[in-house]
């Protein structure tokens, strides 16, 4: 668990990222605030297209510009604004202090290099090591991520490995420089359930060993419940609720969070599932006010007019919600 007394490792302030296409402007991330403390795992949850991955890619500064554009905001990493530094400085941070595990291990590895070469590349780029030393470190890191017979595997090509093995290689590559922050973008979505559990347990062990922070991006609420300390729920480019994992599951406050948790199949057989009616709005044509209001069961007049911002609930500074149902009560007291 991250202790809140320390300074945050990563602080995203009022970040907006949008994409300017010929026809319209897609505002993928709209004014979000998010903090990560050293050693904690924060889960970023939401449905496809809600801006989870754009948030991650913005942090890594991997958004193609143009068509992408950082409209406003800051991304403070150890107090330094990542959006202001030069590309050269960013390259020193990327893969070294902040690294990323992508969703698809099948397509994120280069098919024409051995996995040993690919991990070595990262080491040689960021650390002052000879090739032999780098190879040694590669072997060590492959052992750490529990790849069987690493001496042989190190000389193999990605196609010779299973999906789970490839994801282990991706993880090895991303932790080889001892990053302080690991961004895991749907690290197990492409994998089978029994392999999923292996990979997530591995990430958890690595976090406990090295005290790195993890930003875990997922749409799977089971993974959120089991592997995160705090949760931020995203909808249409905004964080709509943020709290500790226990709070999110025990007392979800935003109608969208409630809907998500209720719509999961539970153990009762043949009972009707609760649903959220309608579909996610197109990010270029968002409704006025709160983007969730057309699907919201608890909609009030204010929802159609003004966008609610993330604010703490009464007497609970760590539980924040962006919803007019709660803001009114906050402003009255």
């Amino acid at each position: 668990m991250g202790s809140k007394s320390k300074d945050p490792l990563l602080e995203i302030q009022n970040l907006s990222t949008s994409f300017h296409t010929d026809e319209n402007v897609v505002r993928s991330v709209r004014n979000i605030n998010l903090c990560l403390y050293p050693g904690e795992t924060v889960a970023l949850v939401g449905e496809s297209g809600c801006g989870k991955s754009v948030t991650a890619l913005s942090t890594m500064r991997l958004i193609p510009i143009p068509p992408g554009k950082f409209e406003n905001g800051r991304i403070l990493y150890k107090g330094k604004d990542l959006l202001q530094i030069t590309e050269q400085d960013m390259q020193k941070i990327r893969g070294n202090e902040i690294s990323m595990v992508f969703q698809e291990p099948m397509t994120s590895l280069n098919p024409i290099f051995t996995i040993g070469d690919q991990i070595c590349e990262t080491i040689l780029l960021h650390q002052n090591k000879t090739e032999d030393e780098a190879m040694e470190l590669t072997l060590e890191i492959l052992k750490k991520v529990a790849i069987p017979s690493p001496e042989q595997r190190i000389n193999q090509y990605p196609h010779e490995l299973s999906g789970g093995m490839k994801q282990r290689v991706m993880i090895a590559m991303s932790i080889v420089c001892n990053p302080s922050l690991l961004i895991a973008d749907e690290p197990t979505t492409a994998l089978d359930v029994t392999i999923q559990a292996q990979i997530l347990d591995l990430l958890n062990v690595l976090r406990n060993d090295t005290a790195m922070s993890i930003l875990l991006i997922t749409h799977n609420l089971g993974i959120v419940a089991q592997y995160s300390d705090r949760v931020a729920v995203m909808y249409s480019g905004k964080i709509v609720e943020q709290a500790s994992v226990e709070k999110i599951f025990a007392s979800p406050s935003h109608p969208y969070t409630k809907g998500l948790i209720n719509s999961l199949p539970k153990d009762e057989i043949n009972e009707k599932l609760a649903t959220i009616p309608g579909t996610v709005p197109h990010p270029a044509f968002l409704p006025e006010g709160c983007a969730f209001h057309p699907r919201c069961p608890d909609k009030i007049d204010a929802c159609e007019k003004k966008i609610p911002e993330l604010q703490p609930l009464e007497n609970q500074p760590s539980h924040q919600v962006a919803c007019w149902l709660y803001h009114d009560s906050v402003s009255i007291t």
């Binding site: 089978d192 359930v193 029994t194 292996q198 609420l221 419940a225 998500l260 199949p265 043949n270 579909t279």
Partner: protein
């Protein structure tokens, strides 16, 4: 309840070619001796990891794939031996809903044509009646009829899956294979489609073979659950006993690896070690033995047979031999 579909020792071996003259090098035993039955109005869940043969089984029950050997009885007739003409008579009663609503709809067809194609192909309706029928199908799956002239790319994933369902329902089938119909959809949309399938099943007394890798979804929908591993069914269990009486170590491992939704309970059992072996070269004996936490000597050489534990509950595992 009457048995609608009965599958007997179904096998599908895909040849693997290799070498200079592209001779047959070996076989991938995608489905190896699978038997089960589905009653009228029943949902059988079929779970397993990718590559275990779930989809191959589903397609063979419709004869979209020719089995290497085995029998498929639909309402008492073995459809494997049928000629094309005879098969055509039975086909309307069996349908399929595909996993990916993005690639299973023809992008150049309007919704109207996609849903109505089967009806006109079988000569069941035309002109005004066809139009009316399509309208009522769209209404049944929760699509407004104003979307009739739109193309698939104009719809969201959930709406496309509704079109796929309407297409499957067009001929009033008795049996539908649902091949991972919700895995490509978001959670909130998943629940809508699951509810829709469930209410349609009740309305029309449909029998479903529900293929999925998501145990939660299968548990929610099906009366019985069959678990597959490397081409074989390792356990068939009434779904209400799944939590308490799952017998096969693989079924237990699947149940255990599903992350619990309770953040205060983080007693995570140790996940299953290793990977699924290649079906080209499966382990001898019980295919699961290299990963099994309870492996015994005989598992390494002897293929376990189906053992009946109680009514409707079968397992193939040496642990349960006397």
């Amino acid at each position: 309840m009457k048995t609608l579909l009965k599958v007997q020792s179904l096998k599908k071996y895909f040849p693997v070619y290799g070498g200079l003259l592209s001779r047959i090098k070996g076989f991938v035993k995608a489905v190896d001796d699978v038997s089960f039955e589905i009653k009228e109005g029943e949902t059988l869940g079929l779970v397993g990891e990718s590559g275990c043969g779930k989809t191959t089984v589903g397609r063979m029950t419709l004869r979209l794939l020719e089995p290497t050997s085995g029998k498929v009885f639909f309402e008492g007739t073995d459809i494997i031996g049928l000629k094309n003409k005879e098969l055509e008579m039975i086909r309307p009663k069996m349908q399929i809903i595909f996993q990916d609503p993005y690639s299973s709809l023809n992008p150049r067809f309007t919704t109207e044509r996609i849903i109505g194609e089967a009806l006109s192909a079988h000569g069941l309706a035309k002109g005004n009646t066809l139009q009316k029928k399509i309208e009522s199908l769209m209404e049944k799956v929760g699509l407004s009829k104003i979307y009739m002239n739109r193309f698939p790319h104009e719809f969201s994933g959930g709406q496309r899956q509704r079109i796929g369902i309407a297409r499957a329902l067009a001929l009033n089938p008795k049996y539908i294979v649902c091949d991972e119909p919700v895995s490509a959809l978001d959670v909130s949309i998943q629940a809508q489609i699951i509810n829709l399938l469930q209410s349609l099943q009740k309305e029309d007394n449909l029998s479903l073979l529900f293929i999925s890798h998501d145990l939660n979804v299968v548990k929610h929908l099906s009366q019985r659950t069959a678990v597959m591993y490397l081409g074989k069914i390792v356990e068939v269990v009434p779904t209400k006993l799944l939590n308490t009486k799952a017998a096969h170590p693989y079924t237990q491992a699947l149940l255990n690896s599903k992350p619990s939704l309770n953040p205060t309970d983080r007693r995570r059992p140790k996940p299953l070690q290793g990977d699924v072996p290649s079906p080209l070269n499966p382990p001898l004996g019980c295919h699961f033995h290299p990963r099994c936490p309870e492996v015994m000597e005989r598992c390494k050489t002897e293929i376990p047979r189906h053992i009946k534990l109680e009514d409707g509950h079968f397992v193939s595992c040496h642990l349960y031999n006397d």
